[in-house]
């Protein structure tokens, strides 16, 4: 794995290797096992490159587990969930809160939806494989992972504008190299300005850029396809787990008024939904201090309030 370190500039002659982060689910653990566990499920970009500032702010108060998805073109959301469960079990992580960022909320609902079958010990159609990350689709988790609560960060249940997701999927598939270069280059420039107060995120924007390979684009397109197909409303309606929502006020990608309205009406487990004024869709990165404070507050509420 390559690592640009904490500084913004890097010595000449540096070498960065991104291959290891390509094909397998990767999991990084920060913090002591004695701390409450928070598992970060990244958005469409699929990796931990934009979570540095949030990780730093919340560091020392939770055991922060961050995930990079494999660049798969075939997995279902259930495959994602099964692999994450297996990776968590492989690392001895048996309970924790889920933090689903944007697309990560779809993986989150898949994990929540699997909870009843796991509790019932339903492993009948699963293989017993093992991968280098300890994680392959449908690998049996030795211990049942216990979800303590779920937090949507710029997340959603069924996407409120599915037509836009389908459009994005088509656009991502047909985009020319010249336009792709302009979009990623433009995003990187904007991101450097946007995250100018988040040095940890700023330091990983180069990493974010380098990871945008052709396979990565196709994997993102596949995730958009999964997103457009997925409808976890029955899971969200029936779950007994405490549900929380967090959004930035400027979020054209996942308009929070629709998400919040649906949750308030249809999800009895919704405990709170917070809008942060100074943030946009990437609420964890654009307002890391406020987001971390809110997440900690939810995680540490007495259980009778949950």
């Amino acid at each position: 794995m390559f690592n640009f370190g904490s500084g913004l500039n890097h010595p000449l002659g540096s070498t960065y290797d991104s291959k290891i982060m390509s094909e397998e689910l990767q999991l990084r653990i920060h913090g002591e096992a004695s701390l409450p566990t928070l598992i970060y499920l990244p958005g469409l970009h699929g990796d931990w490159t934009l979570i540095g500032s949030f990780r730093k702010v919340i560091g020392g108060r939770v055991r922060f587990i961050e995930i990079t998805y494999p660049r798969t073109l075939t997995w279902s959301l259930d495959d994602y969930a099964a692999t994450i469960e297996a990776a968590l079990a492989h690392n001895g992580i048996t309970r924790g809160w889920l933090l689903g960022e944007s697309y990560g909320s779809q993986v989150l609902w898949a994990l929540v939806g699997r909870a009843p079958s796991r509790a019932a010990g339903d492993t009948s159609n699963r293989n017993h494989e093992s991968g280098s990350s300890g994680a392959s689709p449908h690998q049996t988790a030795k211990e049942i992972f216990q979800i303590e609560g779920v937090i949507l960060a710029g997340g959603f249940v069924k996407h409120p504008m599915r037509w836009a997701v389908r459009l994005a999927e088509k656009f991502t598939g047909r985009i020319s190299t010249a336009l792709f270069v302009r979009i990623v280059f433009g995003y990187a420039k904007i991101a450097r300005f946007r995250y100018r107060h988040s040095p940890e995120t700023l330091a990983t924007i180069d990493e974010f850029v380098v990871r945008r390979t052709e396979l990565d684009r196709r994997a993102a397109q596949h995730r958009l396809h999964l997103m457009a197909q997925n409808d976890p409303r029955p899971i969200a309606s029936l779950t007994g787990l405490p549900v929380f929502g967090l959004s930035g006020i400027l979020d054209p990608i996942v308009p929070w008024p629709f998400v919040r309205r649906w949750l308030r009406k249809n999800c009895p487990a919704l405990r709170d939904y917070r809008i942060i004024d100074s943030a946009d869709h990437n609420v964890l990165s654009t307002a890391p201090v406020e987001a971390a404070k809110q997440v900690l507050d939810w995680m540490t509420r007495p259980s009778q309030e949950l």
Partner: protein, 132 residues
């Protein structure tokens, strides 16, 4: 006895120098991939393909279109002319990022950036950064 000690000391110093110079990776580029795409980038606008075939000066879009038609997409070497940074900073990000994104999109796994000296041969030029 005294001369033996001096000889031993000198030998140890020489050994240390040899060992440390072997352990430190050289920043001078040596091309091991004969199918590599070599590009000379004059500024953020103009560039030229040097290998496997020579092109006219053209912009990044035109050059990437030509590169897309090449049979091999393994190694790409980009020589940045008039590059003055002592460590990777804004200048590299402004000039290098479009190449990284475009070449990655075309499937190049190994991308090397070199500090240009106005020559068309990349051998021995100083490596700015390389990505695998």
């Amino acid at each position: 006895m005294k001369s033996l000690n001096i000889c031993t000391t000198l030998a140890l110093v020489a050994l240390a120098i040899i060992t440390s110079s072997c352990a430190t990776p050289s920043r001078a580029f040596h091309n091991t991939d004969q199918t590599a795409l070599v590009i000379q980038s004059f500024d953020s606008q103009a560039s030229q393909m040097l290998q496997p075939k020579t092109s006219a000066r053209e912009n990044i879009d035109q050059l990437l279109t030509e590169a897309a038609a090449l049979p091999q997409h393994e190694t790409a070497v980009v020589i940045l002319e008039d590059y003055t940074e002592e460590e990777i900073g804004d200048q590299f990000r402004d000039r290098g990022t479009p190449w990284v994104v475009g070449l990655r999109r075309l499937g190049y796994q190994h991308i090397v950036f070199l500090k240009g000296l106005g020559v068309a041969n990349p051998e021995g030029l100083i490596t700015i950064v390389q990505y695998y």
